[in-house]
């Protein structure tokens, strides 16, 4: 795969992308704050939601067993997959056994993570994404770039072209018409599908319920019309009970799109019951590990509380500049910078935690208050330990720790550096720096160190002043109006 920094350069050159990102993140961000402001006790609700999520991680194994037991009681078949390949294999097996040939899918990050579609097609099972954005992504042969808005990076003109070329409909760029075309096309697919595949927004432990939220209603069709329904969900996507689910629902829609609640929230507790006219006849849940148990054992366990609302993406100035594809995997933005190295291992992904100014905007908006900056720092530390390079070497500063803990050495070094730097910058500013530091002068001049350090000025002042006498305070320009 291409290198992170190359993907970044490509993204930064894309003016169309930049415009789309600016509009979308701004809109979602302001809607989010407005709708949270209208929720009474929103701070407390977020704290309670965090408590629920963190609490269940403490005995995730026990909770999984209870969840499994309740699913089974509800007539659901439960499967376990150590990794993506295994999950996909289980799904293909289920489909084959049930004689399914045509699958419809609603938006699911877990199956993006396992690259399910590829393995299904390989096994001769047709699969169609049904979320409008995901459908277009599938037609275009690309990947989603935002958790909530998969095609945030595409203009309506490009979408029109894709529809025109791939499903041979007359070209239009009218969003309403495009959506209508999709409705008709996808409705045919729904009616003929025999397998519905979804993720899960939540699994309610004590009732054995799968919760799905969607605005379009496609998740409902996927779970209502086909004969067989398979859920692929990460082992962390649990909530203890319905009262906690209430908390999650209150913050999820608000954080994601600024809606008080997403249009459809489905609670699916087992397959169709006796006397019911619709719903699947056979329901399966595949519980996916794929690196999650490893995350749980390390310093970034907290990320397992993520409810995938996407708010951290919209708040992130880095995401706003580079969009989702630059992150190189299923999960973009700040959450992706933690989850991707967590799931896939730090090797090959250490650029992601580095690509943050640690501004903390993500932590501020996260509905469950995940401390993303802390986790980025943990991953950076981990990357250093793995790679075994001394900081000094990387930074081109000889023995930083040694030097900076020895004041005289440190000062001498800094002063020498200053003298050298001022040689480069007769007017006090450096236009071009060599090596790694050249990144700075790509768009900024660098101020050279001052001829006299603060400590020099301080000592000179002390020397010029008789000992023991405090400096006379000059009279203020006017009387202070308010001194508490």
């Amino acid at each position: 795969m291409s290198h992170f920094l190359d993907r970044v350069e490509t993204a930064l050159k894309d003016e169309e992308l930049k415009g789309a990102l600016d509009r979308a993140t701004e809109r979602l961000g302001s809607r989010r704050s407005a709708s949270l402001a209208s929720l009474e006790n929103s701070d407390m609700i977020r704290d309670m939601a965090r408590r629920a999520k963190m609490g269940l991680l403490k005995d995730l194994a026990g909770n999984l067993e209870t969840f499994e037991k309740n699913l089974i009681k509800n007539g659901v078949k439960v499967h376990w997959a150590e990794d993506g390949k295994a999950a996909n294999g289980l799904l293909v097996d289920i489909a084959k056994k049930a004689g399914c040939k045509r699958a419809v899918k609603s938006k699911s990050m877990a199956t993006e993570e396992t690259h399910l579609n590829h393995d299904l097609l390989e096994a001769d099972i047709d699969v169609l994404e049904t979320d409008l954005g995901e459908y277009i992504v599938q037609l275009a042969g690309t990947t989603p770039s935002h958790i909530i808005l998969p095609i945030i990076h595409m203009t309506k003109e490009r979408i029109g072209e894709v529809m025109h070329n791939k499903i041979k409909v007359p070209y239009t760029s009218d969003p309403e018409k495009l959506a209508k075309i999709a409705r008709v096309k996808l409705r045919e697919a729904f009616l003929s599908a025999d397998l519905g595949i979804t993720g899960a927004n939540f699994g309610v432990i004590d009732s054995g319920t799968i919760v799905l939220v969607s605005n379009e209603g496609n998740a409902r069709l996927v779970t209502t019309l086909p004969r067989v329904h398979v859920v692929v969900m990460g082992i962390e996507k649990l909530v203890p009970n319905l009262a906690d689910l209430d908390l999650m629902i209150k913050i999820l829609g608000r954080s994601a799109t600024g809606q008080k609640i997403t249009t459809y929230t489905s609670l699916i507790t087992g397959p169709r019951r006796a006397g019911e006219a619709d719903g699947c006849e056979e329901m399966h849940v595949i519980l996916l590990d794929n690196g999650r148990s490893r995350i749980l054992g390390g310093p970034i366990a907290e990320i397992l509380g993520c409810i995938r609302c996407g708010a951290c993406l919209n708040a992130c100035p880095v995401y706003k500049n580079i969009g989702g594809h630059a992150y190189g995997d299923t999960y973009p933005g700040p959450v992706g910078a933690i989850v991707t190295p967590g799931l896939r291992g730090i090797k090959g992904w250490k650029e992601l935690p580095d690509a943050s100014s640690l501004c903390g905007a993500c932590r501020e908006v996260c509905p469950v208050r995940l401390d993303i900056p802390r986790m980025l720092l943990e991953l950076r530390k981990h990357a250093v330990e793995e790679a075994k390079i001394p900081f000094s070497l990387r930074m081109g500063l000889w023995g930083f720790g040694e030097v900076a803990s020895r004041p005289w050495l440190y000062k001498t070094g800094a002063r020498l550096g200053g003298i050298f730097a001022r040689l480069l910058a007769p007017d006090g500013w450096i236009k071009k720096l060599p090596g790694l530091a050249g990144g700075w002068t790509r768009s900024r001049d660098m101020k050279a160190p001052a001829p006299k350090s603060f400590q020099q000025l301080w000592r000179e002042r002390a020397a010029a002043r008789p000992a023991g006498k405090p400096p006379a305070a000059p009279t203020p320009a006017r009387e202070p109006a308010h001194v508490r």
Binding site: G217, E276, L296
Partner: protein
Amino acid sequence: MSGEASSSTSRDARLTILARVRQAQIRAHIPETKAGLPERLAYPPTTPAARRARLLEEFKILGVEAYVEESEEAVRLRVRSLVTGKTILSWDADRLPYGIGEAVRGEKIYYGHDSKEDQGQAEIGLTGCQNALAETGTLAMTSGQGRPRSASLMPITHVVVIREADILQGMGEFFDGFRKSPELPYLVFITGPSRTADIELSLTLGVHGPGYLIVVIGP
């Protein structure tokens, strides 16, 4: 056997994963969370009139067409006027409140037991509803015998009839009703018409589910 891990690989995976998770959670660094929070969220009491007013307010924001009728007869007339001449996908007559099933007799109606293709022809879905949730403008629908899920999902228009007495304040209150019996039916919370903003953030209604949601509130 129903309800068991399906294959031997999955059974092995189960043991491996649970063992790993168990190992991991011993040394897991789970951050402390804020102390002194209430056990559960309290819903302060409200009056039926306040709940109805709030519900109507939320409906307006969501673009839900709402009618409040004072008598059972008025409800039947309203529903008739909304569905006459259209192909209907309906809950069974005995599952609809206010004798609406009788009132729409004579129209072209499909039911849950008809083929999906036939159901797909319907222009209007006609259903009752277990509860409405005022603070979000939400309809809480359960499904079961004679109450198919498709009626609130497949047609482009969905007409829902609810009783004013069934308006609750919010989801928490609704869930409280299931506290004693954790046996949940299939449930869907519907809040406004189906929508998407996937294409350049422009709002489009009715992309998969109903694009028009009409609620008739009866006495």
